[in-house]
């Protein structure tokens, strides 16, 4: 079994009217099967309301399944006694950096998690050092978080999660509110953590250009997984992606259009270099 395994996962949002009767219910996650191996980098794509965030919230037991099961590092998330262990295994980073930073000094913010689980002080500082170093923010440890840029704040938030020594880190649109520089910083950080620390990364995003680094991409629509495969396989389906309201990177789109116009190019081109090299062959 992988580090995260979902089996026929269903989550239903229920809406009640003023009399307390069931008004309507929506299956935000509808029969999802997922098996993530330790050390993988997975991207989950989908437009707003596709169920991707609801799925993510199951991975550290913020939400519990209505039907089906999800195992995190072998533990069923419905096992109440193990909930802290689950949250320690799977850390979560949210969209808005300002909503998740609580410390008045960067190092205190990063140390908050380990302090909460009773780690001895000396060990906390070790973890703070490691966490900040891993995200390239060691030089800012004495700074006030509210003076940092969005990208820096997100990296501090990631350091805070790392200080809990998780096996898996779930990032729910961590770059949606950042400028291009901040986005690059955060994505590079995630990639490095995945490659060098072998931390399993689950990145939820609707920026397609962030997906190209993932081992596997999963596309969600209406609570269901509608496509999965390597980014290259996914991006070969330009029309289907557009239909469910997603974009492909400009270079992929350009390659697709050129192919349609009769040039012989590969499917699912992901980078500028690939396209330029293939075009040079045609010259």
């Amino acid at each position: 079994m992988g580090i995260i395994k979902a089996d026929q996962l269903v989550y239903e949002y229920k809406k009640y009217n003023e009399e307390g009767d069931l008004d309507s219910s929506v299956k935000a996650v509808d029969g999802v099967e997922l098996d993530v191996k330790a050390g993988e980098f997975i991207a989950i794509l989908g437009h707003n309301g596709s169920g991707k965030s609801t799925l993510a919230k199951h991975i550290n037991a913020i939400l519990l399944p209505t039907e089906g099961t999800i195992f995190v590092d072998g533990i069923d998330t419905r096992n109440d006694e193990q909930i802290w262990k689950i949250r320690q295994s799977a850390g979560m980073v949210f969209q808005n950096p300002d909503n998740q930073i609580i410390g008045t000094v960067v190092e205190e913010d990063v140390g908050f998690g380990p302090e909460n689980i009773g780690i001895p002080t000396r060990k906390i500082w070790e973890r703070v050092d490691e966490g900040l170093k891993a995200v390239g923010m060691l030089g800012y440890r004495k700074h006030s978080p509210n003076k940092l840029s969005g990208g820096q704040k997100q990296r501090v938030a990631i350091a805070g999660v790392l200080a809990m020594r998780p096996k898996c880190i779930v990032l729910d649109e961590p770059t949606a509110m950042l400028d291009p520089k901040g986005r690059k910083e955060v994505i590079t950080t995630i990639k490095t953590l995945n490659e060098e620390e072998q931390i399993t990364a689950i990145l939820i995003t609707h920026y397609m250009d962030e997906v190209i680094y993932a081992d596997k991409a999963i596309v969600m629509d209406n609570g269901k997984i509608v496509m999965q495969g390597t980014p290259r396989e996914i991006f070969a389906h330009v029309e289907e992606l557009k239909e469910i309201g997603l974009d492909v990177p400009q270079v992929t789109m350009l390659a697709y259009e050129l192919k349609k116009a009769g040039l012989s190019l590969s499917d699912g081109i992901l980078t500028n270099d690939e396209l330029v090299n293939e075009l040079c062959q045609l010259k």
């Binding site: 437009h47 707003n48 309301g49 969209q95 840029s149 969005g150 649109e173 949606a176 509110m177 400028d179 291009p180 520089k181 901040g182 609707h206 309201g245 997603l246 974009d247 990177p249 400009q250 270079v251 789109m253 350009l254 259009e257 050129l258 116009a261 009769g262 040039l263 500028n272 270099d273 396209l275 330029v276 075009l279 040079c280 045609l282 010259k283």
Partner: protein
């Protein structure tokens, strides 16, 4: 009819330890009906600049002329200016507050002193302009999707009949569908009403597709100002200030370096396709 900015300087917290020269000698003229993209990363001064355009901030020195009149002259009608220059802030949906969509959009025109009836007429017109379906008018704005909420907030500003519409990152945090909806509506609006639109954005790809003029700001200064294709021809300079041109620009320049005889001015996928097919000698 235009906005003319002359030698504008703005200093935050002057003569303190926190003094910061946020705008340095800005000189720009924006003509009526232009669709302008204002680009700059966090801290470049773009938000400070747009807050001057409807006098939310007063400059340390310099003058702004709106339709030929100095807006800082004694007796200038600031209230009228703020109706004429509509400003849509970042995450404008956070400012929704009424119990129905229609009431929320009516708030602005009512504040301008219009009767209930007139306000409703303006509000309906504005909601139509942003393409919000009529069956949503009676709903709570908080039950809408992110993209819809944002369109309601934009309608709230449009209902005041501004001559100039300024939007501070109107697509931030939206998914591609929501983003295309908003930008598509802005294009429609611009075509139909000849309103001046200033779009503040981080996204070069968005800007490239939609605007006719780009102003790039960096460290409080106007760094580049011109047509999108001319701006992106300076893509190396853009990188120095942490911006990037659209991917297509990079591809075309890379092809040129590899010996292609190619037009590198394309910035959209469609234009890029034509340039590449031409360079390869294919008929389109």
């Amino acid at each position: 009819m235009s906005i003319k900015i002359e030698n504008l300087n703005y200093i935050y917290s002057p003569e303190t330890a926190y003094e910061m020269h946020a705008l340095k000698d800005i000189n720009i003229e924006i003509l009526k009906g232009q669709f302008v993209g204002l680009i700059g990363h966090t801290g470049s001064g773009k938000s400070t600049l747009i807050q001057h355009l409807n006098a939310l901030l007063k400059p340390s020195s310099g003058v702004i002329y709106f339709n030929g009149k100095n807006i800082y002259e004694a007796g200038y009608d600031m209230k009228q200016l703020r109706s004429n220059v509509g400003l849509v802030f970042q995450y404008p949906e956070h400012q929704l507050f009424e119990i129905t969509v229609l009431k929320d959009v009516c708030f602005g025109p009512k504040n301008q002193g219009l009767s209930d009836e007139e306000a409703v007429t303006k509000a309906k017109k504005a909601l139509e302009m942003v393409g919000l379906a009529e069956h949503l008018y009676a709903q709570s704005p908080f039950d809408l999707s992110g993209g819809q909420k944002r369109r309601v907030a934009i309608a709230g500003v449009l209902a005041m009949d501004p001559e100039v519409l300024i939007l501070d990152e109107p697509t931030a945090g939206l998914d591609p569908r929501g983003r295309n909806e908003i930008l598509g509506q802005l294009i429609q609006l611009h075509r139909k009403s000849n309103i001046t639109i200033i779009l503040v954005s981080h996204s070069m790809e968005d800007i490239a597709k939609y605007v006719e003029r780009i102003i790039v700001m960096n460290e409080g200064e106007v760094k580049l100002d011109g047509k999108p294709a001319d701006i992106f021809a300076h893509y190396k300079e853009l990188e120095k200030i942490n911006h990037a041109a659209p991917q297509v620009t990079y591809i075309l320049h890379a092809l040129e370096e590899r010996g292609f005889y190619i037009d590198t001015s394309a910035i959209t996928v469609e234009e890029g396709k034509v340039a590449i097919l031409n360079a390869l000698g294919k008929r389109i």
